[in-house]
Symmetry: C2
Subunit: 416 residues, 2 copies
Amino acid sequence: MFQRPRGTRDFGPDEMARRRRALEKMRETALNFGFREIQMPTFEEIELFTKKSGPGIVEELYAFKDKGGRDIALRPEMTAQVMRFYVSDLSSLPKPLKLFYYGPCFRYENPQSGRFREFFQFGAEIAGANTPETDAEVIALASAIIAAVGLKGFTIRIGYIGVLRNMLSELKLSGAEIAAALHFLDKNDVEGFNLFASQKFISKETIERILSIRNLKGDIEILDDLNDGAAKDYLKEMTRSLSLLRVGKFQIDLGIIRGLDYYTGVVFEIDAPSLGAEKQICGGGSYDLVPLFGGEQVFTTGFALGFDRVLMAAENEGFPQIVDELDVYVIPVGDSAREKVLGIVATLRNAGLSVDYDLMRRSLSKNMKYASLAKAKQVIIAGEKELAKGTVTLRDMKSGDQKEIKIESLIEEMKK
Amino acid sequence: MFQRPRGTRDFGPDEMARRRRALEKMRETALNFGFREIQMPTFEEIELFTKKSGPGIVEELYAFKDKGGRDIALRPEMTAQVMRFYVSDLSSLPKPLKLFYYGPCFRYENPQSGRFREFFQFGAEIAGANTPETDAEVIALASAIIAAVGLKGFTIRIGYIGVLRNMLSELKLSGAEIAAALHFLDKNDVEGFNLFASQKFISKETIERILSIRNLKGDIEILDDLNDGAAKDYLKEMTRSLSLLRVGKFQIDLGIIRGLDYYTGVVFEIDAPSLGAEKQICGGGSYDLVPLFGGEQVFTTGFALGFDRVLMAAENEGFPQIVDELDVYVIPVGDSAREKVLGIVATLRNAGLSVDYDLMRRSLSKNMKYASLAKAKQVIIAGEKELAKGTVTLRDMKSGDQKEIKIESLIEEMKK
């Protein structure tokens, strides 16, 4: 017997119905926010991903040479692709450009709870608008998408990487040095940061001030202690827009660093505490990546959301068990009835109803059992004598009520 | 500048809106036929595909070793995966099992018109029902799915591989010899077939009879000349079901062989003549694959449909240019208006409308231009004075009509 590859999943009909419904809700929400969908290939030149994430990413990639000898990798994320697509084709579209996308991503890592080798991301970006309300729009969308799936238990934390960046710039550190410093802080490696800072002759006082920034967490008022006026003003205006857009629950957390070098201003993370150690379901912020991919500088802000994790969190809350229901299952009784029901089936399907019928020529009782397993809301029983009169029996599977109905009145009756 | 990999595609917002809409219609149709969706991983052990399609398929695969040394391939098609999934998990579900799936597939071949290295398939299978109406159901679904996308110019050709198989079996050929013979016939290699047949001491008369079967094309009446009574009865009953299900246009074509060894009875192909040389958009039939993957024998019938080709054919016919329209674009005029419109935006979005607003603090005229490019159906212009009175201006972008409206009446007015 063949096994599916480790860390990947098959989705059966019930699970797929839930996933499809969740994705539809997410898409609908993004479209209602005026975002438009794009799609990129499943694999790319490996360099596209190392350009954005550094050579370290290769360790985690599904990488291979194609038959033409090119180094190819299955995408580990989609932002680098959006940037490539933006530079080659999208940059001439009207600004602001509001985009979203969904698809499978791949990472070679040890499979564990909530982490898969093939996983699914939903993401969004805005390019070309450089205002606090643009960052607010992106966070409001992430929040609305998560809420649309039915998840209630999530928290939004908002930081501003610009604060630490500005403090480090003032110390006349190079770009690479700033990146190194932020890397220590992101990993919470205080010892490493201290060593690094002392080598750069940074005073103890400044070190303390930098380290303490990471502990600024709470309501918007904690920003009052901040020296950085521009950052303070931006964050206050952004969070005010967020409140006006009715995004209620968020807190400030200046400890959010997000690892990668290209974040510039607002950064945010969304957690679902019910997921435990792997609780982060979304991360994003404003970033500066287009020039890296050969385009002109443009303000960009966005997020990526872990589709699988959002669903896991929603299921922890007793996410409604959506199933594909069948409007009606049609059972012919008797050989001559078998052909006659096909016309009824075709008519009901053309009217937009979901209709299945007996393909196995089974007995009435076996068919009734199948109709119940297939979650049919109603059953049509078509016996030869009734059909001769132009009628069938329509049975409600919930109440058990049934009545004889003229075939031409079926659609009307069923849509009641 | 980075290039996307050869033979792959990016889909921008307009194209993606069309693709999404087409896929939604296909899904809706399959659900209305009582089929249920499943999904399998993007890659599998390479052996899964060679088991079904033979070692020759390796040439066309995106194959690689993962970091654990396993031989992996991006899927070139999805039926083998459905079989694997069926054997491991789905075989215990109630029969008949009606399944559909959609996703990217990959073949390393020279990119040319209508052939891509990453392409998209939509497929369906029924397992467990062994009646002519089951084959009819599958063909009716394929036809309905194609019609749902709006394509009119397509033709359905229906054959029965069982006819040739039975004739070859009667000659006491082995399974491998039958496969070899069918392969010659599939490739239309008459010379090769003649040589093969003469080596097996098959009479000229029989050879002629076999070759002539391939030319039986036309209405159902052509079957009257057929010796194979069982095949004739089955095909007649199947096509009668098809007519009763209101699938109008189809012809019999006993020349359909479909290359692979596992087809058993009915086979069919659907073409869109407007596509020229690469006109086939769908192929399928009944097949016997489950035992190959370690499961118990079960009657299975299904099809795979080239999503990209169906869309190309629909576009050749002037497929309607679907775009994502925006219900309303909101323009604040003046600084204090900027914050006030956010509440209006949130309220309208919560009411299910698609709403965008000025993120770039542009002038009224620039915003009007953007609203027009973004295909907004209506525009809300919110000036400071009006807002103070609790009103805004609602403008219909098509007619140019505009009127002052109370904010609390907006939803009602807009949903008119």
